[in-house]
Amino acid sequence: MSDEALRQRAVHLSRAYGPLVYGIARRYAHTTADLDDLVQDMWVRVVEILPGKNPASPDDRWLCVVAANVGFEFLKRRRRRDALLKLFRFHPRETDGAGPSPMAMADSAASRIWAAVDALPGLQRQVVLHRVIEGMSTEETAQAINRAEGTVKASLHRALRTLGAELADLESLWSSSDL
């Protein structure tokens, strides 16, 4: 893909699916400035890995996975920074990142889902992102994360158990009662 084609495709995606990526970024950013930087970082990552995107993967779902991964890395960096700053008490008391993200919307189902997904162990989280959010097959997921298909199946099973328990109070929204 030439740079110009890549630019056009990335700009098109940012216009078509910007609100989706922005919605995910808001779950990880603590301040408006953070949100601004994070959204830009998400689109830079998109530009970097777009040439290697699996064409079978739907654009919107693929973007969600990319955005969630960039957001999660951002959150981990921020936690490490906050822990370090806490260690050195003499830092200025500008703890705009403390506590749950104020940018995230109210306690919506989407917020609950992302919080539960981000709390999963690393491998399970990756499997859920690819299998559930992106909609990849077990085989494609195994290739994407470089693991055996059995590992993917087992991880998904364990992740769904955890997510089911975390979202148990929303069960009326996803579990039909005629079972």
């Binding site: 940012s14 910007g18 919605g23 689109w43 779902r61 959010i133 099973h157 089911g164 079972l179």
Partner: protein
Amino acid sequence: MEEHDESVDEQLIEFIRREALEEVPVPPELQARIERRIEATLATRHKMGWGSTALISGAATLALGLANPAGFDPAFVLLLTLAAVVYGAGVRQLTAVPAPRVQEGSA
């Protein structure tokens, strides 16, 4: 029982797929900054200029040549130069850096 579990899993998966994607309108000025950042990222992918590439290639050629003083026949020099050019191009590619963030209010 296993069928029941699978059915519940499917419903949970469907629920997550349906509910996880939530759209929030992007402020127009942020959208403009995103597009500028995308363009800046692509424009600065090759950060190192050809001058620096040539310099590195030349230095590599000299270093390799000096390390093999007995091997200075024309074919060897040509091979060495080719290897150094490839090396320089590789360094040039590897030193590409992401574009700086586009700040609020910047043109």
